[in-house]
């Protein structure tokens, strides 16, 4: 029996939703270090802990939180971690180890302004860091959420995907989503037919090493260039193979669209609203939202962009999504314009104005 009976409609903050989703998915442990705006995830997790037998440790820093998360995952625990901003920067060290050693752990990132300490409020400036941080290839699964329902759904999905594919998985939220309250439908994933993670000890499986089985010796250090590349190419092949099972996107449809507005995360809400307003005004607009930023839904984006005369990328960062979009649209003739507001939320009205302006220009 799950911790959530049936289906419940609740009015909650995003941080609460994350804690409930992790609990509903069967997560057993969380490690964290205080940083705004994700703190309430730890607060709710620790409040829920005694009743549900959950583990939590507030570590001495984000490095420790990240590495303890890895230790717990290796020991076979469904575990997650949450951070933001400068904490996310520090967290890249353990995350790179998780990437190399295929550790199935989940990080929830509630983006705040950057670089440096910047603001504790909101941003989409951790998009590139979360996708490609560390000294590697970005072998990660990154879900970008735009609503509390997304937070609930994708925390559960990220926990599943991490263990299914053995790559570190991320739920990329932001300070707005963390702090705002809106309705959300909580459900027991099992009775809702949602995939649940299948967890097993990686480091300490059944049996006595050298008696029942060979010892497990895990490492992230390699001797020579070719040995490293062999290991990495194995990981990369696995990553590419799983991509078709993981990529997700959403479109706000419009017949014969002439303008495609591309946004991710909470900005998608403004983009969708702007698309509706534009259509009311007689402008044939459509919207595209990558839900997974890693792997990126390249095919569906190209298919949507091929049909239009103008693509407009909107984000609360200075070109982090735009560069991903431009990369994916390479070779298409459609012009790309962007509304870039690093560290600041974007209103639907601003998007409407920009699209009208860009439409006149091209």
């Amino acid at each position: 029996m799950g911790v959530i009976q049936g289906t419940q409609r609740q009015f909650m903050t995003g941080n609460e939703v994350v804690a409930w989703a992790a609990l509903a998915a069967g997560a057993q442990a969380m490690f964290g270090y205080p940083i705004t705006p994700q703190n309430e995830i730890m607060h709710y997790w620790t409040r829920l802990a005694p009743e549900h037998g959950l583990r939590f440790l507030q570590t001495e820093d984000e490095l420790s939180a990240g590495f303890a998360t890895i230790g717990a995952a290796l020991a076979g625990s469904l575990v997650f971690c949450a951070t933001a901003g400068p904490g996310n920067v520090l967290m890249q060290e353990p995350i790179s180890m998780a990437e190399m050693m295929r550790v199935p752990a989940v990080w929830v990132i509630q983006q705040r302004g950057g670089p440096s300490t910047a603001t504790v409020i909101y941003s989409q400036q951790e998009t590139r860091l979360t996708c490609f941080g560390g000294n590697g290839e970005g072998l990660r699964i990154v879900y970008s959420t735009s609503s509390h329902q997304d937070l609930f759904d994708y925390v559960i999905k990220a926990l599943w995907a991490a263990w299914e594919f053995r790559f570190p998985a991320f739920v990329l939220g932001d300070g707005y989503q963390a702090k705002m309250r809106e309705p959300v439908t909580l459900y027991d994933p099992e009775s809702a037919g949602v995939n649940l993670p299948s967890v097993e000890p990686i480091l300490k499986p059944e049996g006595v090493p050298s008696v029942d089985r060979e010892p497990v010796h895990l490492r992230n250090t390699f001797n020579i260039e070719e040995e490293l590349m062999d290991v990495l190419m194995g990981h990369i092949r696995d990553y590419l193979d799983m991509s078709s099972r993981v990529v997700e996107s959403e479109e706000h449809p419009c017949e014969d669209p002439e303008v495609l507005v591309v946004a991710h995360g909470v900005v998608w809400r403004s983009a969708r609203e702007a698309v509706s307003v534009l259509r009311d005004q007689g402008i044939k607009a459509g919207g595209f939202r990558p839900i997974t930023l890693r792997p990126f839904p390249e095919e569906s984006l190209r298919a949507a962009a091929e049909k239009v005369k103008l693509t407009v990328v909107v984000e609360s960062a200075y070109g982090q999504l735009e560069s991903m979009v431009r990369d994916r649209l390479y070779g298409l003739k459609v012009p790309v314009r962007s509304l870039l507001k690093p560290g600041v939320g974007v209103t639907a009205e601003e998007i409407v104005d920009s699209v009208i302006q860009f439409s006149k220009e091209v």
Binding site: F11, T119, I121, Y122, S147, G175, Y176, K179, M180, R181, E182, P183, V266, V267, R269, S270, R272, E273, S276, V344, G345, V346, T347, A348, E349
Partner: protein
């Protein structure tokens, strides 16, 4: 777009601004509307003002950020300065006509100093009660914007207790929003403060009365101005 209302509630830290936002949003949700509440964001966060943004709608709500509010409630001059960009031509602005001058925090001030800690009730009194009118003539150019003076602090102090000033403001706001039922407001109040009420039964009545007084104060202003409910 269907029915939609956007609210900005702004005041000093310690005035209970976020409680107004939370209860307002929860009451709308209980009234069967989609609802979104978010505390301070953007540049508004700096400088000690506390701001709550609430949106309610028949449809799922888009961006948490918006340009113009339908209803603003501003409880200090500073908070008004911080939020006036949200005052559009059609915005109704409720303000505390008994507003106190923003207390000055200086090196003589005893107690906690810092972000969102100034002006708890009693503290304002300790630094004197100098009156200042809030959105005077300079805010008028916004053509059709309607200003509703509500003497929330005075009424709270004189009739109830200073602590419930924010509930008077809540009552004033919801009196302008038909789709948020009184029943749902009381339910949301109970959900938020039920634990406190359990400790002290009298608090329930006090808060309920404050909400009712807020409604009455708005009715009075509107009837004086010749506007019917």
């Amino acid at each position: 777009m269907g029915y939609r209302r956007r609210f900005v509630v702004a005041g000093e830290g310690g005035q209970g601004i976020q409680a107004v936002g939370e209860i307002l949003a929860a009451a709308a949700y209980r009234s069967g509307l989609e609802s979104l509440y978010i505390p301070n964001f953007g540049v508004e966060q700096r400088g000690g003002a506390s701001i709550a943004f609430v949106q309610v709608s028949e449809h799922p709500i888009g961006a948490p950020k918006f340009e113009h509010a339908d209803i603003m409630a501003v409880l200090s001059r500073r908070a008004f300065e911080r939020t006036r960009m949200h005052q559009g031509p059609d915005t109704v602005v409720i303000y505390d006509s008994s507003d106190l001058r923003t207390p000055v925090i200086d090196d003589k001030t005893v107690g906690i100093q810092g972000w969102e800690t100034i002006a708890p009730e009693g503290f304002a009194a300790s630094v004197g009660r100098e009156r200042e009118s809030v959105p005077e003539s300079e805010s008028r150019p916004r053509s059709r914007s309607i200003l509703l003076p509500v003497p929330a602090s005075d009424v709270a102090k004189d009739e109830l207790t200073p602590r419930v000033m924010n509930m008077i403001v809540l009552g004033a706001i919801v009196s302008l929003v038909e789709k948020i039922t009184e029943e749902s407001v009381m339910e949301a109040l109970e959900a938020k403060l039920g634990a406190k009420f359990a400790e002290d039964e009298s608090l329930r009545e006090l808060n309920r009365n404050a909400i009712k007084r807020g409604k009455e104060l708005v009715q009075q202003v509107l009837s004086q101005a010749g506007v019917s409910g």
